[in-house]
């Protein structure tokens, strides 16, 4: 099992989502936690060279690996 932290900004974003999408995000993060199959792409940015974005039906969930921890940074709608 992975170690996962969720940034406060991601929590705020989650709270703004409608309940069905909020649940979609929680379930996606749970899949990430248990290393089940997820749809992930990599995005290099200037300050986060190894950022990943998990894709669900309606959402994009960017995260970064920092040492042994995976940090969910935010949640965006597709």
């Amino acid at each position: 099992m992975r170690r996962i932290s969720v940034a406060p900004q991601a929590i705020s974003r989650l709270k703004q989502l409608p309940p069905s999408e909020r649940e979609e995000a929680v379930q996606a993060i749970d899949r990430l936690l248990h290393q089940r199959e997820v749809d992930v792409s990599m995005v290099s940015t200037k300050s986060a060279p190894n950022m990943h974005v998990m894709h669900t039906a309606n959402l994009k969930i960017p995260f970064r690996v920092v040492e042994d921890r995976l940090i969910v940074l935010s949640v965006f709608r597709q």
């Binding site: 989650l14 749970d30 290393q35 792409s41 940015t45």
Partner: protein, 171 residues
Amino acid sequence: MALTKPQQLNELLQRAIDSYHAGHQPEAIDLLARASKQFPKSARLWGYLGFLYAESGAGPNAVKAFRKAAQISPHSEQASLGLFHSLWQLGRADDAFNEMRRFMKANDSPNYLELLRDMLSDKGRRTSHAASLTVEEVHEVEAISASVGKPGFEPIDLDESADRLRELTHA
């Protein structure tokens, strides 16, 4: 007072970043492409240019720019990862892995190790979504990313399930 060369470079890079964040990606690319003639040995400049080319879907140009950055700064993980990802996006997996091998021969790289772990895992699947985040989203995520580990950044740690997250976010 006239700016020194490093100051001129910093000023140019800042202008390009500002332009990019304002949504003027072609102008930012043009600025850096012209500046690369003035500062051909700046790995930072080539790295930024590579990033902007990759963001705009100009894969071959991204490869060229990141390759320049990696040649100038062979121990830069950021340059190497940029080159790896842009080669990968073009379907040049062999060349991408050659770059990974080159870098890992001489450097520790937790990011490449994580990448390999995921690739070798049959539980994970990676697909390509070029430019999957908008400029505004990249901007926001970079700001959050920069705050990780700093005072005031208090993430929620999940243990064995995401139930805690569900409790915290459900009304």
